[in-house]
Symmetry: C2
Subunit: 411 residues, 2 copies
């Protein structure tokens, strides 16, 4: 049969017009602005504060190696077989126990990026109003965007979301969903204050708005005092795990390692059961072995590793803040994060951080301009710096170079 | 701050009406009919021909263990770090070489279920006409369904899709997309004949219809002669990898192991570049370590393992077909697969395989009723049997029990 005449183009053959054949949804997607910048900054001479990468030199490589070995021995072929969409039962159990909720309210996902995609998929109809921080996590905008949300920006300050402004928005806008990163936000490094959290939970409950609390960094607090999560407050408020309007997402990417892609969602049963259906269609289940590896690491390695990362990032943040104080000209403002991986710089009005980037790169230092983090634009004079994966010496050099760049731009 | 007053419900607190808050998209999703059946069939006494699970006793467990170890040594922390959305370069390179196309035309995905989801996402606008085989792979319907396709069923026979009927459909329907499993189809085990492949490629090109060729089983041929893939014919037809209208999906799930979730898409550059954007929002990237493990196994283990699986499934299929011939009453028709994991049984008209399932279970044998595999209904008298993961002895027992069940239903 292989010797049959090959298919051959009809004389009128034309390549398909692929662009014309894309879905409406696909037209809403864009190449990530950050991704393009990151490509430039991967050149070896560049000191990059641009990426949001956890420090690889801290990864528990040998522990992961042993955990893989142990999981393959403990579970045998089941470690490599298809598994349930909901996730590896002992992992769900552990997460549920820590949160004080049943395992049935926990869904394992392939990185918390998948949580955002699936939640967008099951909750956002075209035109639904979604409230996001200004600025917000760019990856959430990328996940939600194909589903056609209409964004409303919530103003923020050093205490996180301005809840008075939020009340005004809720009064005048029929919002369905609010997305927030309350701890050490990406991109600003800011934390929502405890009093504001309570108010946000109450207001959104009263106005019938679901909340996605995205908390990849919560365990990485290196100063100040922890506030309860929106999820905890939501449970108190509703009195029942299956009535709470708060949907909580977190991940092992920042506390253990990102490359295994293990994360989870905690939510009321009706949300979880729809998530299961969505995940079945999206990737059937999160890789089996990866969930078992993480499960092996929960008791000993995770707490120790979290402590190691927290301490290292605290030191790096302090080094960066120290040099910023010495090197940046007056008129430049910046946040002082109490955890996480990022801080946020606001340049004097009139300096465009996107245009300034070329000059920074010529001095071998990179950052991410702030503007892409605003759903509706703005923040042209802002930028994000990551301190998680640079050595103190590189931080010193890089911040000096960035200080010079800013001074030059001010001239 | 933790001592603040807890959030407390307003007197008028009501749990959110979660169902009312779901997206239009979520309303189109359903719990998988198969999934519910599989739960029942997991009881230990049941001989199950229902699942579509690869045989776990054949998994190359020790080889995967060594490959994980080697990958962690070779790449160090990079094996556990975030990685590129497109996929691990050596893996894309290998796939591209085998297909005779540039690595740039290969996108790695988290199981081929993700390929179907992302392709549905970027190609199907609400109401777009999608042509599917009758019956078709249920998982594809689950992936596409949230995006709101309008299905048209293509009639099939023992040679696969009836291409004369397809021409009629193309002439009268403005279809955008055709989805097919040309090799050892799930659920029927049928293979599209070589001449029909050529005609399908030409017809869809002429009518401007994109084709998703889903080929998880192609390497598992145990009898007969291989036909060229639609993708190969599409390349010949278009003369250029970036002009072909065929999008090819395949996976390491059936040839190596499913639990690592490593699969891929081959397509024209405009499709790949939109897939990259979609995947970024969906899960950032397929787990790094998993891609490296598979890459370690490509040269030696993959060919050997494929041969092992092919041989075993060929033997199991032969045993099942032999017992069917002896045990099933006349008037029952069944397919004779040349590869893959499934065969398809058509009972005499009037027997409803869904209703018959309870009787089969009471005889400790399980199958999947055929009806859910039809996008628009039908096939009430059909059922799918999987021979991949049962021993010859269990196959003998199970087929005898199923034969009795059918005879009882005929009375």
């Amino acid at each position: 049969m292989l010797s049959m005449t090959p298919a051959r183009p009809a004389p009128e053959f034309k390549a398909p017009d692929f662009t014309a054949m894309l879905s409406d949804r696909a037209r809403r997607m864009n190449a990530s602005a950050i991704r393009e910048i990151l490509k430039v900054t991967q050149q070896p001479d560049i000191i990059s504060f641009a990426g949001g990468l956890p420090a690889p030199e801290l990864f528990p490589l040998e522990e992961v190696r042993r955990a893989a070995d142990t999981a393959l021995t403990r579970y045998g072929p089941a470690a490599l077989q298809y598994s349930t969409t909901e996730g590896h039962p002992p992992l769900r159990e552990w997460i549920g126990n820590r949160a004080g909720i049943p395992a049935a309210n926990v869904q394992i996902v392939t990185g918390s990026q998948q949580a955002l995609d699936l939640l967008g998929k099951i909750l956002i109809s075209e035109g639904d109003t979604v409230l996001v921080e200004a600025p917000t996590y760019l990856g959430a905008l990328q996940s939600f965007q194909p589903y056609g949300p209409s964004y409303v920006q919530m103003p923020t300050d050093d205490g996180g979301i301005d809840v008075d402004a939020l009340e005004g928005i809720l009064r005048t806008t029929a919002a369905k969903l609010l997305y927030a990163v309350p701890n050490f936000q990406n991109p600003t490094g800011r934390t929502l204050s405890a009093e504001r959290r309570r108010r946000l939970v109450e207001l959104t409950a009263q106005y019938g708005v679901l909340v996605i609390e995205d908390d990849p960094y919560g365990q990485l607090r290196f100063s100040g005092e922890a506030a309860p999560s929106l999820y905890e407050l939501g449970l108190e408020y509703a009195g029942d795990v299956n009535s709470s309007h708060i949907i909580y997402c977190s991940s092992f990417s920042k506390t253990l390692v990102p490359g295994l892609r293990d994360a989870w969602v905690q939510a009321a049963a009706p949300i979880i059961s729809k998530l299961v259906q969505a995940k079945q269609g999206a990737d059937l289940h999160t890789p089996t072995l990866n969930q078992m590896i993480v499960t092996e690491l929960l008791e000993d390695v995770l707490p120790r590793q979290t402590e190691t990362v927290r301490k290292a990032y605290g030191e790096r943040a302090a080094v960066m803040l120290g040099h910023i104080e010495k090197q940046f000209p007056s008129g430049v403002e910046y946040t002082t994060p109490e955890g996480g991986m990022f801080l946020w710089v606001t340049l004097p009005e009139g300096i465009d951080s996107t245009r300034m980037l070329a000059r920074a790169l010529s001095r071998n230092v990179a950052y991410v301009p702030g503007s892409p983090f605003f759903a509706l634009g703005g923040g042209e004079n802002t930028l994000r710096l990551s301190y998680s994966s640079a050595t103190p010496q590189k931080i010193e050099q890089g911040i000096a170079a960035l200080g010079e760049t800013i001074r030059e731009a001010l001239d």
